[in-house]
């Protein structure tokens, strides 16, 4: 032990006190990780945004129902994953900014503007970031389905699909294969579709989450799927779906629906 004690920067090594150290320094860590996974897929005239409802810390499940997906406007839905306290505060602040916009301009903020707003708000905290991965889904002003994904400090891009969170590494490759048709060769004389129909997308979303629930301990309990339909888009694909609820506020534009499903609780 003398060799070790002699490396102490100050104080003489006391013969009887082996444990002499400097003042105990323990830094408070203002972050934690609350598990869960989110995902969004854009279609031609719709967008699907989903997340599980489990909130955990370490090996403990804190609650089986803590929503991670939030309706912002009738054409924008935001999914938030990472540090739950930051996530909730961030959604609160985005909603506040959208309300101010509504009061100033008497209309809802367009999706691409919300995306830029989110990047600005995230980057404003570049040196004490919101430890949160955001996925924004909805309908653009041209009526197309869109997904924007962000990193915690605001880098963002528009994509057709994105998974984030605890099971990102399980879900994203599945989506790459099933949506972008990566590593698949079309039959001779045919080509892969550029847009998938809504029923197919819903099936992929549910399969993604049941799969992630099987293989990741932080995913499970419940599933919330938001579907945003473009103005005038057919609701045929949503008819007969069990437990579907509409949460649209206005009645002549885009429409928002929620589908809730159970996931395994173990």
């Amino acid at each position: 032990m003398p060799a070790m004690l002699s490396t102490q920067p100050h104080g003489l090594p006391h013969p009887h006190m082996q444990t002499e150290q400097g003042p105990q320094q323990r830094q408070f860590n203002p972050y934690t990780e609350n598990g869960g996974t989110i995902l969004a897929i854009a279609g031609k005239d719709f967008s699907v945004i989903a997340g599980d409802t489990r909130q955990s810390e370490g090996y403990s499940i804190q609650t089986r129902y803590a929503p991670k997906v939030f309706r912002l406007t009738d054409r924008a839905v935001l999914a938030v994953n990472g540090f739950a306290a930051d996530g909730n505060m961030f959604v609160k602040k985005v909603r506040q900014r959208l309300e101010w916009y509504r009061h100033a301009h008497a209309k809802d903020m367009p999706l691409r503007a919300i995306a830029r707003l989110i990047q600005t708000m995230l980057y404003a905290r570049r040196f004490f970031p919101y430890y949160v991965y955001n996925i924004l889904g909805g309908i653009e002003e041209d009526g197309s389905g869109a997904v924007y994904s962000f990193d915690p400090v605001g880098s963002y891009e528009r994509e057709a699909c994105r998974a984030a969170g605890a099971a990102q590494s399980l879900v994203q490759p599945f989506l790459d294969n099933q949506i972008y048709f990566k590593n698949q060769t079309p039959a001779p004389g045919t080509s892969h579709p550029t847009h998938l129909p809504l029923p197919t997308v819903l099936k992929l979303v549910i399969d993604s989450f049941t799969g992630a629930t099987e293989r990741h301990i932080e995913v499970g309990d419940g599933l919330e799927i938001y579907v945003v339909l473009a103005k005038g888009a057919s609701t045929q694909a949503l008819e007969g779906i069990r437990g579907i609820q509409e949460t649209t506020v206005t009645n002549d534009g885009e429409r928002v629906f929620i589908i809730q499903r159970e996931l395994k609780k173990d």
Binding site: R26, Q27, T32, N34, Y65, A66, A85
Partner: protein, 265 residues
């Protein structure tokens, strides 16, 4: 020196504001502390309380916490109340640093008094107390100056029961069973097994049985606990916090344990 002109205050203009009513009077803000760098922050809890348990049942919420405040492994204060009523509809239970908890009690007392004094027909329920505490805790963690507690907030107002959790990071959630600290590992599974799905049918007697047996298991296994605890119920009739009660425990089985401990055979 404060370099932001908006913080300098507005010179009074007697021509149109003789009584200095603009800007609207605010609570006085503490001046900027020039010794801020030398200020001590809670970097670790000192005198600590252990788990808080709470469940939903038919009539409302039942919450329990023992009466011990530890100083490290020393059982320092053995008659501390860790359940605290806030207003008429809410009880808040705390684990973690007890001096921070006493500060929170003061803060809430002030809040409730101010709300009462306004006489506007509104009273603070558990939902409001939760929202308030979550913002306080998150704001403090964001200043890297946390209040080192895990709080359980239970209440009953307007026919609705409410149970939630807030901690030093500002993390929040609601659930039908909540256990903090050691209890989240030992008691939470027992509570879930007994309560999940039965929130609307459990009677007060059954709820008390569940809480009591969980507190017993905790006393057997948690070295920072004591067999003296209080139970709070929050129902339509209001919030009541029981006198301290003692647990019957039996340690005769300990003699039969072989393989570790002091005995050699």
């Amino acid at each position: 020196m404060d370099h932001f002109p908006t913080n300098w205050g507005r010179p009074r203009n007697d021509a149109f504001d003789a009584y200095g009513t603009y800007p609207i009077a605010q609570h006085p803000r503490n001046a900027v502390d020039v010794f801020a760098d030398g200020v001590q922050r809670t970097q670790q809890p000192i005198v600590t309380g252990t788990s808080v348990l709470a469940i939903k049942y038919k009539d409302g919420i039942m919450m329990a916490a023992d009466n011990l405040a530890s100083y490290g492994s020393l059982a320092r204060f053995k008659d501390v109340q860790r359940l605290h009523p806030v207003g008429d509809y809410t009880v808040i239970g705390a684990g973690g640093d007890m001096s921070d908890f006493q500060y929170i009690q003061q803060m809430l007392e002030e809040l409730v008094t101010e709300e009462f004094a306004s006489q506007d027909g509104h009273t603070l329920g558990p939902v409001e107390i939760h929202e308030y505490m979550s913002h306080v805790m998150y704001a403090r963690r964001s200043k890297i100056n946390p209040l080192w507690n895990s709080l359980v907030i239970g209440g009953f107002k307007n026919g609705k029961s409410f149970l939630s959790y807030v901690d030093l990071l500002g993390t929040t959630y609601t659930a039908s069973t909540i256990a903090t600290g050691y209890g989240s590992m030992i008691a939470q599974p027992l509570l879930r097994k007994a309560v999940e799905g039965n929130e609307t049918t459990l009677t007060e007697e059954e709820a008390l049985k569940i809480i009591e047996s969980s507190m017993r298991v905790l006393f057997y296994r948690d070295a920072r606990s004591i067999n003296k605890f209080q139970v709070a119920t929050i129902t339509e009739k209001g919030a009541t916090i029981s006198e301290s009660r003692h647990l019957e425990t039996s340690w005769s089985f300990a003699e039969g344990i072989r393989g570790y401990g002091s005995q050699t055979q």
